[in-house]
Amino acid sequence: MSEAWPKMYRSMLPQASAAPVAPAVGTADNMLGARVPPHPRADVHPDASGNAGPVGEGLSVSPNLAALPPSLVPERLRDKRPGARGTNTLRVFRLGNGSFVRATLGSAIELLPTSPKHGVVQPIRPTPIQDYQKELAATQEHWVVDES
């Protein structure tokens, strides 16, 4: 099922002692989860009722490794991505294998490409922020390390 989802990449910290390697779930930088205010670089800004989306903001993803911000690509991948300057503790994860186009990931979240090199995974409808975070966390098992 998740193989049909759009192919997207994201640099994240691996969850400690998980096998196979999976992204760590959380709301800090480089985790599987959206950063919310008061984080200075919040990914989503819930409304007064505590709902997020769908307003074009959410978890940042890219269509391929080369399109990721180089400060988040581990330095060990400089041969594949010149200028890579991320910490080597990060892993590059991939989700899905379809085209990088607007499409749902399950019943509550979707990929919204914002440019050919960037997209966000956002709620399909206004969703309580905690539910949105749970939906993102639920994708954890579908992310695979892909640093090729």
């Binding site: 930088d29 480089n30 670089r41 940042s60 911000p69 180089p70 400060s71 988040l72 330095e75 400089r78 041969d79 010149p82 200028g83 300057r85 991320g86 910490t87 080597n88 503790t89 440019s115 090199k117 960037h118």
Partner: protein, 406 residues
């Protein structure tokens, strides 16, 4: 590669330089580096593709400083000798990106190549990055010129606190070259304006002491010695010692009779010996100073002594640099007056007055001169030269001084 001045590229450059500095210090996995990376990621998608490519190239170059250089393989048929020859041509032609590409193909980077990299990044407008390469060149082979350049670039990049801290450290060394001491004096002078009013006299006094020790060092380039003497002169003025200030400017002109020393002496003499001051400012204009205001004084002086061909030349040259309407308007007006006196065609004169009016639509002196010109066009009677009203050329002198050391 052209110079970039937009906010996001400048912000990204500063973050990138800081990140590589953290990485070089072995703190790649610590909180500060993580914060920097996250800030960089937030800015990344706001950069154009070309800007992104340049920052990737800069990042790869900064890896050199960490000893993590990955040389780019030579192309087919290319040799190291050929690359070196092409590099020399590209550097001379100021093809900065091309020169940097070629350096990445060389097997090792010595101090002179690090310096060339600094120059290329500097010329491309990446001033903070250029400091890294000048510092690296200085680490590889200590040289006052590299250190002075790094200081100068920090000041130009607006990193005055860092420049001041470095200047203070250099000042404490037991032995320092004249070149470096004079550069330190310039940096201190610039930091004085930002300091608390009560602290300024002490800073100006330090500047004068440093310059008095170093200005006569013949191993320092004449332009550097003159620059030091000019800032010392301004420091003496701030300390209320006008005689010492003038002495310092006189020395600066003697050491290097170029635009800045002449302008500095001209300003100092403006209310003491105006004819001599105007001669200095006229000489600066004749030397093609890139400052706009000396042309105004030079043109006014030329009008007063009825050298109308000179007026034309000064106005035309000054307009190439002048941005401010009050200055541009006056230069167009005086050029029009000179054109009348030189018998230029009325269409040319009218066009010059129109441009002056566009710059200074409410200026009364200009309006009166234009009315007199229109009357002359109707009657075709000669206007006596002295009939023209020549407005005062006096500008904000503090601003003029600042333009000499900024």
């Amino acid at each position: 590669m052209t110079a970039m001045s937009a906010t996001f590229p400048a912000q990204y450059e500063a973050l990138l330089v800081q990140l590589h500095s953290e990485m070089r210090a072995g703190r790649s996995d610590e909180a500060r580096a993580s914060e920097l990376r996250s800030e960089m990621a937030a800015v990344w998608y706001r950069l154009s593709e070309d800007e992104q490519a340049i920052y990737d190239e800069l990042s790869e170059d900064l890896y050199i400083l960490e000893g993590k250089r990955v040389p780019v393989p030579l192309s087919e048929g290319e040799t190291a000798v050929l690359v070196a020859q092409r590099l020399a041509s590209a550097f001379k032609a100021k093809e900065n990106r091309r020169a940097l590409e070629l350096i990445r193909k060389l097997t090792s980077i010595d101090a002179s190549l690090s310096y060339v990299m600094g120059r290329c990044w500097e010329r491309a407008g990446f001033l903070r990055a250029s400091v890294c390469f000048y510092d690296f060149a200085n680490e590889q082979e200590p040289n006052a010129i590299y250190e002075a350049l790094a200081l100068a670039m920090l000041v130009q990049a607006g990193a005055l606190d860092e420049a001041a801290a470095r200047a203070q450290a250099i000042e404490k060394r037991p032995v320092v070259s004249g070149t470096l001491l004079l550069k330190v004096a310039s940096v201190l002078h610039q930091t004085a304006a930002k300091a608390e009013v009560s602290q300024r006299p002490a800073i100006y006094a330090r500047v004068t002491r440093l310059v008095e020790v170093a200005w006569d060092d013949r191993t320092a380039p004449a332009s550097t010695r003159a620059e030091g003497l000019v800032v010392a002169g301004f420091s003496y003025e701030h300390l209320g010692d006008k005689d010492q200030a003038l002495r310092s400017f006189e020395r600066a002109v003697a050491v290097h009779p170029s635009g800045a020393p002449l302008c500095a002496r001209g300003l100092a003499l403006l209310h003491i010996d105006r004819p001599r001051a105007l001669r200095d400012l006229t000489d600066a204009a004749k030397l093609g100073t890139r400052l706009d205001w000396p042309y105004l004084y030079a043109a006014q002086h030329a009008i007063e002594v009825r050298r109308f061909a000179e007026v034309e030349r000064f106005c035309e040259a000054g307009l190439a640099f002048a941005q401010r309407a009050e200055l541009r308007g006056r230069l167009f007006e005086w050029w029009a007056i000179a054109a009348i006196e030189l018998g230029r065609p009325p269409a040319e004169i009218t066009a010059l007055f129109e441009q002056a009016m566009a710059e200074l639509p409410l200026d009364l002196v200009l309006h009166r001169n234009v009315r007199m010109y229109r009357k002359w066009l109707e009657t075709e009677r000669t206007i006596p030269s002295e009939a023209w009203e020549v407005a005062s050329a006096d500008l904000d002198e503090e601003e003029a001084r600042a333009s000499l050391t900024g």
